[in-house]
């Protein structure tokens, strides 16, 4: 790799891994030891929100209910994200392994993988891999079973409580929180729900130990992460990189020499303009991301980018709460009206305020995060919105 600051890592896709041995070793340890190891690693959720994985497991393990579940969130739908597909395709056993360790800690007998409908072509092979997996854990006498549940084309089902609603056969509408999934998740039972990548990292931490993971990254963003790189880049694809790099470092590696903006975290993430590349760290201390990195060069209209995102949200909002359902429509129509000259440019400020209201009043993460891309794009590319 040409850039000294970008460190490629190979934890996720590393094929040199004795699955059975890792699981056997993990199962020899007490639940407290497992939670402490995870806590020590500093692993935070890789779906985007970044909740400490150890705490999720710990809280769920503390619930007295005998019926608990572990759910793998494979409803990867964030525009610009495709790393879970690759993980599911290449190293499914590691995902199952992460779920199995979690099941031990919390006391779950059943696990579920919620696979997005767009990835149905992976189903057959995943089922084959599950067969292999089940025969291994039968061997190890681990009482755990994993099933795959298929999604059907709804971005919002990536939101954990919407995902449970969907698994229960309902519309994927997010629930009120609290209660959180650790208390009331799938079937209203205590549930750990983790992203595909998180589960693999959890598994790999029990292969390499927390220390190796913790050596990577920064204080706030430990370890490495799989990035989905797309847009104006000569080398689009999937890269596992150490956390803590700046956008500038990233652009040096992946840009086409004319990058004017990077959208970090997909439609619900932040747009970082060229002038902020240097000072923006990719990670929880800067711009967090579920892995989506979209590069735009100077030939692209950021108005089109934003409009594309807003069309996406307008359609993919579940529609139940006012700020998100109506707000998304207003933001989209609003920027169109400004662009067409039907509204004065200062209407953008009105829309910015609306986006802030959405951020603090929407029922779930979807509605709350629309403001991320909206505000960062409008603020940094105001002229493109008007002219």
């Amino acid at each position: 790799m040409s850039n000294n600051f970008l460190r490629r890592v190979d934890l996720i896709f590393d094929k040199d891994c004795d699955f059975k041995q890792v699981l056997r070793n993990a199962y020899k340890r007490s639940n407290d030891e497992i939670i402490n190891e995870l806590l020590e690693s500093g692993l935070r959720g890789r779906g985007g929100a970044g909740f400490p994985t150890a705490l999720k497991w710990k809280f769920t393990s503390e619930q007295p209910d005998p019926e608990k579940y572990v759910v793998c969130n494979a409803d990867e739908g964030e525009p610009g994200t495709f790393k879970d597909r690759e993980i599911l395709f290449q190293v499914p056993l590691k995902i199952f392994g992460g779920m199995t360790i979690c099941a031990k800690v919390i006391g779950a007998k059943e696990g579920y993988i919620y696979l997005r409908g767009e990835y149905r072509f992976l189903l057959l092979e995943l089922e084959n891999q599950l067969q292999i997996f089940h025969s291994i854990i039968d061997d190890l006498k681990i009482p755990f079973h994993i099933k795959i549940v298929m999604g059907s084309g709804a971005y919002i089902c990536g939101e954990e409580s919407a995902l449970f609603e969907s698994m229960e056969g309902d519309r994927g509408e997010p629930r009120n929180k609290p209660p959180y999934p650790t208390v009331s998740g799938f079937r209203k039972k205590p549930t750990v729900i983790n992203n595909v990548e998180t589960l693999v990292y959890a598994f790999m931490i029990f292969r390499y130990g927390a220390r190796k993971f913790k050596e990577l990254g920064t204080i706030d963003s430990r370890g490495s992460k799989v990035f989905s790189v797309s847009g104006d880049t000569p080398k689009p694809g999937i890269y596992e990189l150490e956390l803590g790099m700046t956008v500038e470092q990233f652009v040096q590696e992946f840009g086409d020499g004319d990058t004017k903006a990077v959208q970090v975290g997909g439609a619900s993430g932040f747009c970082v303009p060229r002038k902020k590349f240097k000072d923006t760290i990719i990670g929880f201390e800067g711009v967090p991301t579920g892995g989506s990195m979209m590069l735009f060069n100077s030939s692209r209209s950021m108005y089109n980018v934003l409009k594309n995102y807003l069309e996406f949200f307008e359609e993919e909002s579940c529609g139940q709460c006012t700020p998100c359902r109506v707000g998304c429509q207003q933001l989209k129509l609003g920027i169109e009206a400004v662009k067409k000259g039907e509204k004065h440019a200062n209407y953008l400020e009105q829309l910015q305020k609306l986006a802030q209201t959405m951020k603090i009043t929407a029922k779930c993460g979807l509605g709350q995060s629309v403001a991320n891309s909206f505000s960062s794009i409008v603020e940094n590319f105001r002229e493109e919105m008007i002219y």
Partner: protein, 154 residues
């Protein structure tokens, strides 16, 4: 017994008759009949002893649970910005020309339906599309012609 009723019964036998079976059954109907008719929904409501309005509400929530008649092959072209940047519109144009339909329509022989959809998760290999479950990536108009010609023979 009509075919649809038989199908719903078969699916309910397979997936069960609880609320949790609803989406797998709806998916099963789409796989067989390419869409969920009003008849299928009332059959499902009856099998699962639930309100038909709720079946309808759930079905219409999910983009892949079509409630309008679709062709044998449903083409879903990714409309996310990354695919747009790589020439999605040319792909749509080519498909429209070949199939002589617009986005949202079905060919008169009920063989193809052309739709746009949200991110398919192939952003590094755009433009991308699904035909039923199969993903096609790094599309060009030429590639699309070959793919569709193959399907036309199916």
């Amino acid at each position: 017994m009509t075919e649809t009723r038989e199908l719903v019964k078969k699916l309910a036998d397979k997936y069960g008759r609880t609320r949790e079976s609803l989406i797998p059954i709806l998916q099963g109907v789409v796989q067989e009949e390419r869409y969920i008719s009003s008849e299928a929904m009332t059959e499902i409501a009856s099998e699962l002893d639930m309100s038909a309005a709720k079946v309808y509400g759930t079905a219409t929530f999910y983009s892949f649970l079509d409630t309008q008649p679709r062709g044998k092959f449903v083409i879903r072209v990714c409309r996310t910005i990354s695919c747009s940047m790589k020439g999605k519109n040319l792909i749509i144009q080519e498909l429209e020309d070949m199939l002589k339909i617009k986005v949202g329509e079905t060919t008169s022989n009920r063989k193809f339906t052309l739709l746009e959809t949200n991110c398919l998760g192939w952003c590094h290999k755009g433009p991308a599309m699904l035909i039923n479950e199969q993903a096609y990536t790094e599309l060009t108009p030429e590639k699309v012609r070959d793919i569709i010609n193959d399907y036309m023979k199916k």
